[in-house]
Every structure is written in C-alpha cells, then in structure tokens.
C-alpha cells in the first residue's frame, strides 16, 4: 500500500473510532446516570430548581434528540458550559491543557534520557553492578504506585529538606509571562529567567514521579534490544574489522537498538496521560488531569464529557502519528 493511501485509511478509521468514543462518552454521561440533577443539586432541591436544571442540561428532551444535540455540539467543538466554573468547557480545556503537555514533555525527556542511558550501560556491562542497579531501578519503577511515591518525595524534598517547592506550577509572587501557556518556554522566550528557574524547580518532582515508570520500561526494552543487537553478525564483523569498541557500540549497535524504544515512547503516552491524573492531583498541578478529577468528583457532566473526549482525541492522534511515522520507516507495517 502506498504511504498516502495508508495515511488516508488510518485517518478514516480514526474518524470512525472517534465517533464510537463519542458514543461511549455519551453513554457514560447521559445514559448511565440515573439522576444527574439529583447528584448535582442534592436530594432536597425544590422541584422548580430541578426542572430548571433538567432544562438547562437538556435532559427533558428524548434521548435520541439529546444524542443529536450532543454530536452537533462536538462537531462545532462546543462542549457546553461547565457547571462548576460557569465558563465554556472548551475554554477551560485550552486553559488547563498546556500545563499537562508541559509536564508530559518534561517527563518524557527525563524518561528517555535515563531509560536509554541505563539500558545501554546495563547491556554493555551485563551482570555487572550497573546492570543490577538498572534492573532494580526498573522493577521498582513499574511496581511503585505513582501517588504514593509522589507523596513521599514531597515529604522528603519539600518538607524535610526544603529543596524543592511543594506544588503548583509557579511560586506565589512570580508571574510568568503567558503566550503559549508553557511556562518554561514562555519565560525563555521573554528572557524572564527568574520565572524560568522558578518553573523548573516546580516541574522537577512531578516530572520525575510521572516519568519514572516510563523510564523503567524504556530501560528494560533498551537493555533487551541492545543485547539482541550486540549478538548479531554485523556487530561481530564490525569488531573484527578492528573498529574500536566505542565506535561499534555508538555507531552500529545503538542506532539499531533504538528502534523498539521509539514504539515504547509512543505507547507510553497513554500511561503518561493516565499517570498525569494522579501526579497532577498530588502536586496541585493545574492541568487537565486534575480538572477531570475535580469535574468527576462533583459530577460536572459537561466538563467530564468535554475533557474525556478531548483526552481520548489527543491520545488517538498520538497513536496515529506513531503508526504513520512507523509506516514511513518500515513499509511492512502498512497492512
């Protein structure tokens, strides 16, 4: 299949899947809840208030009409008004999303650096102490609950050592410039170094906590793939040609061993978004993850619908990009 056709086919499939996703979200927010208004207003609300609320949410219409309205809204990127913040949900999402992306990117950078370095070294020095350290590091990384690790690190670095700030994206009296919404990027752009260092000190702990699990899985994959490559014939040939060990490892082996890691980076994105929910809650990080949790806790249905759909869309888009870049690299994937 030609790459262009493949991309078209994948985009078409994604549109179908997104329609299904929208239907699932509709079920979650419109069909399952027995009494959303009761949940919002409480059991003792006066009848007029309940009716008004039902009308406001469009719940007095038949379910098919509700579904049509809902799909219409999505097509126009209109998710309604948040019951809690009384602002359009889309505005809220645009407001909160950069924080999540910034955190996800920082964690990914951390995870790739640490994971690749540890994986390569533990493959080269197999069964030496660095290998043992890296394996312990990885197995702990995939076993430790994110929220618990976050709490303990906060206790240690914020409360006991007072090295790092306790939460949020910036300190109370520092007002980072806002252009794109990415604090670190914006402050570099404006040359505001105080805001930059402040933002950096705030992102270290959450990025570590969120990226740890990904770093662990990258280190494991990197180790396995590096060991696999080092065993192959072309490496032996390169060595027997008299190339230095360093050249063989970095020029020949590492390049090939990195391919599976690219997959893992793509796949990690979903777990990063899931992990962001917990990390943002612990570090009071004003991102979309915390926004969803707060919306769910008070059953703010428009906000839940909008943000869940948005996250699913971003996630599917990321997977699509990974698949397409894969297909571009390796024609065998285009099936």
């Amino acid at each position: 299949m030609k790459l262009g056709n493949y991309i078209l086919k994948r985009i078409f499939l994604m549109v179908i899947v997104m329609l299904g996703v929208a239907t699932i979200v509709f079920f979650i927010t419109h069909v399952i809840p027995a009494d959303p208004v009761g949940a919002i207003l409480g059991g003792n609300a006066p009848i007029e208030r309940v009716d008004e609320m039902r009308h406001q949410l469009g719940l007095d219409k038949p379910i098919t009409l509700q579904f049509i309205d809902y799909i219409k809204g999505i097509v126009h990127a209109d998710f309604g008004i948040s019951l809690k913040s009384s602002r359009p949900v889309l505005k809220d999402i645009i407001n909160y999303f950069p924080a999540t992306i910034e955190l996800a990117i920082a964690s990914m950078i951390f995870a790739v650096l640490v994971g690749v370095v540890l994986g390569v070294f533990s493959a080269i020095y197999r069964n030496k102490s660095i290998d043992h350290f890296s394996r312990v590091f990885s197995i702990l990384g995939v076993s430790m609950p994110v929220f618990w690790l976050g709490l303990l690190l906060l206790l240690l670095f914020y409360y006991h050592l007072d090295l790092l700030p306790g939460g949020g994206r910036n300190s109370l009296f520092i007002f980072p410039p806002r252009i794109t919404g990415f604090i670190l990027f914006d402050s570099v752009l404006m040359g505001d170094w105080t805001a930059f260092w402040d933002g950096l000190s705030h992102i270290i702990l959450p990025a570590f906590v969120l990226g740890y699990a990904s770093a662990a899985s990258i280190a494991r994959i990197m180790r396995a793939s590096m060991l696999d490559i080092l065993r192959q014939d072309f490496i032996r040939t390169a060595k027997s040609k008299g190339l230095s060990k360093r050249l063989v490892i970095y020029r020949h082996a590492l390049k090939n061993a990195l391919i599976p890691v690219v997959t893992i980076i793509g796949l990690s994105f979903g777990s990063l978004l899931s992990g962001a929910v917990l990390t943002e809650t612990i570090f009071s990080w004003p991102g979309l993850g915390r926004y969803i949790v707060n919306a769910l806790l008070v059953l703010d249905y428009p906000a839940v619908t909008g943000s869940t759909l948005f996250i699913a869309f971003v996630y599917s888009l990321a997977n699509l990009v990974v698949d397409i870049s894969y297909a571009a690299l390796d024609p065998r994937m285009r099936v």
Binding site: L13, I139, L140, S143, M144, P145, F147, L151, V277, I311
Partner: protein, 303 residues
Amino acid sequence: MLNTVRNIGQKEKIKLFLEQRKPIIEDWKHTYYLWKSTPLAMIGTAIIFIFLTIAIFAPLLTSYSPTEQFMEERLLPPSSQHIFGTDQYGRDVFSRVVYGARVEVWIIFIVSIISVMIGIVVGITAGYFGGAVDEILMRITDMFLAFPRLILAMSLTAVLGPNLTNTMIAISLVDWTIYARLGRAEAMKVKSQPYIEAIRAIGAKDLRIIAFHVLPMSISPVIVQLTLRMGTIILTAAGLGFLGLGAQPPTPEWGAIVSDGRNYLIDQWWITTFPGIAIAFVVLGFNLLGDGIRDILDPRLRR
C-alpha cells in the same frame, strides 16, 4: 480396550495414567526446573504466597477490627500495641492493611473473571467468524482502547457511583480489550488448522468447535497475560481509591488508606507509608512472577 482398563488393579491404572501423560509430566518438570533457576521468579512467587496467606488468615493476624473507630486512640505512632500505628479515627493501621489484602485479592479475582470472560467471548467470536463480525468487534475494541486506561475507569466509577463493586466493574470494562485481541489471534490460528476442517466435515457445529476446540487452545495465552496484568489491576484500583473515585471509606482498600493519611502525612507518616509499601510489595511480586513466567515460556530458553 475399555474392559482391559477396567479389569486391571488400582496401581496399574495409576501407572498407565502416568505412562500416558509422560510428555506432559516431563514438561512440567522442565518448567519447575526453569522456575527454580530463575531466582527472581521464586521471590515473586514467595511474595504472592505471603500476600495470599495474609488475605486468607487476616482475622488471625490481628485482634483489631479494620473499621471500628476508637476516637481516644487516634493518631498513635507505631508501638507494640499498634505496630503500624493508628489513623485519625483510632483504627489500627496494621489491621486495615491486613484486611486490605482481602479487598485487593477480591478485586483481582472479580476483575480477572469479568474481563477475561468479555475479552474471550468478543475475541473468539471475532477471530472465528472473521469478516464483517471481526471488523465490527475489533473497531469496538479500538474505541475502548482510545481512552487512557485510568481516565475511562474513573469516568465509569464516578458515574456509576464510586464504590468497590463499581470499581471492579469499571476496571473490567477497561481491561477486557487485551484478552479480546489475544483470543482473536488465537482463534484465527486454530480455525485454519486441518483438524478443525476435519471435525467440521464430520458435522460439528460452530458452537461445538468453539467450545471444545478453539476455547481450550486460547485459554493458556490469556492466563499468562492475566498473571502479567494482575499488578496493573491493583495499581489501577489503588489509584482510583486514592482519587476518591474508587472504594470508599471505611472499606480498607490500600489506595483509599493512602489517601486517608494524606492530610496527616507530615506528622503521622505511618498512615500513608504502610499501605503504600503493601501496594508496592505486592505489585513487585506480580511483576517479578510475570517476568519469570515470560522467561520460562520463552522458547529460546526452553530448548
């Protein structure tokens, strides 16, 4: 043939039985040998064994109730009376953690059953019948895979009403997709075998072929995958509990206990620390065991 078998003595019967199953027994012996030579898998098994023992014998391990409140004994540090201390309601943290093991075992058990059942039914149906059925079922699977796991699970629990039962339902509704894909792959493999064609030629119906031939072949990879995922099930349940969108107090679910102690973290570190260690420990056990299983089943190692 049947008569001769019936006429021989009990001992002979056992001998014959063993004789017939020699290859399987040899295989198991080899597996045992591989397991013994993978120390990490042994540690994992030991951890899981301890976890299950604690869950089963919970009432014998502690004399305190996990839910009864003693306000005059609140926030006591660990001592010989309360080895993990007490929480803000005077409940013994140790007995909450110990009884929590029961909750976690229950979650793993129910989630495994529901998710494997849905996954197997969807997967085998898709793989066996193929064509349009396959296309539709797999697209539905994709729709569920389009959500980050935790986000779908927490939306479901929040809307169904956050409690233990709904947590288990929600995690199952997120987890079945993996087994569906596995079951489908396995069903497609089995269906194209010549012996299936032979059975069909004799006149076996689809349902019979699925139940007696495709299903048994698909079960073992699913079981392997299930053991690999048990750690993740606990982490998801604990994450939901921690967010307040899972098991609710006073249910001693480990994630919920960690969340209970959150506001007391600075001075009463024990409420949060011990259930967290319990989660990490058990998930570690499942991961070590899962890694071991993967190594043991690796055909390159088996040879």
